[in-house]
Symmetry: C2
Subunit: 197 residues, 2 copies
């Protein structure tokens, strides 16, 4: 016995979402069955509105509702620094700190042989187009994963050739962690990156 067609179709749609398998999609569809008509309408509209309104900022690639994001269009931001991150999520993480007041550049991923992603698939050209005499420093804040490091090295080489000051966020032990739980590479990087106190 199969599910009715509209039920199957909604399950298929839920299965497009990350981390949702057959059982999860089934559970969600049953939940929608118990939801009010108005709630389902709200959900359906939210999807359409999201796709219509949310774009990538034309300058930095961050998400925004207009053409350019709040950060790029904020005249009070320090235009001499550009922090390069993998995804919009990272911009929100950095902004939470309220410590950095420069600009961002969102790559939209990393160079990854496994996923067949090359430098051409990333937002790199637009980064180089932005760099001008005002740019004093580019901080590469891709994740400290294999792909993030590869991308950082690739960018650093190109930026260096252009005579731009490039820095990379530090590796080391997380605050409040303990030495004997750290993996070897983290401990090594932490040791190598030691500073005079």
């Amino acid at each position: 016995m199969a599910y009715p067609k509209s039920f199957e179709e909604l399950m298929e749609c839920f299965k497009m979402l990350p981390g949702i398998g057959n059982k999860g999609a089934e559970r969600m569809a049953y939940h929608v069955l118990e939801m009010d008509q108005s709630q389902v309408k709200r959900f359906s509209d939210a999807l359409i509105d999201f796709k219509k309104n949310i774009h990538h900022c034309k300058i930095c690639g961050h998400i925004c509702e207009g053409d350019t994001c709040d950060i790029c269009s904020d005249p009070s931001r320090d235009k001499s620094m550009i922090c390069v991150v993998e995804s919009p999520k990272d911009v929100f993480a950095m902004e939470k700190l309220k410590e950095y007041h420069g600009l961002y550049h969102v790559l939209g991923g990393t160079i990854s042989i496994m996923d067949g992603k090359t430098a051409d698939d990333l937002n790199i050209d637009s980064l180089f187009n932005r760099i001008d005499d005002m740019t004093k420093e580019v901080i590469i804040a891709t994740n400290p994963t294999r792909e993030g490091e590869t991308t950082a090295l690739y960018l650093a080489k190109l930026l260096d050739a252009k005579g731009v000051n490039v820095s990379r966020i530090a590796n080391g032990l997380p605050v409040n962690s303990s030495l004997d739980y750290a993996d070897d590479l983290t401990l090594l990087r932490s040791f190598e990156g030691r500073k005079k106190i």
Copy 2:
């Protein structure tokens, strides 16, 4: 820094789904950002179509696209037996066996003091309206949980007073399980329910 309005709204909608918290909703919204326009449209339409087309069967409470479900409108089903279950999911589970050829009745939950659900909130009146001279047996197949058992006992009493043959699905050890992993109550029920071989 806050997410754009349409982004927040979609996250709120995802959070209405069971098991989806802040992080999950965020991850899903980012995924929708990368989806094609046509895929998002499909998802949005699927929600509306689902709500428009999927109803509870007027006879048994199972889900269906028309007024009555495939089982109730199938003339080859054995009309002398009604299997009472908690939810449409249970009908699909039973049907997978291809062993039972009678009818179903979906209660839409169980009596649960914790959730403030009484017998009046369940599909019970319609069950009694269905029972006639043709009905030879009502099998109560609510889950073997505290709520399921309470509901089963409640129904059994009422059905018994009406002179209907009532049975309950068996408790015992799951096939391929081991005795020393079984909880006490399951083992006790399995022992009490022993049969001559």
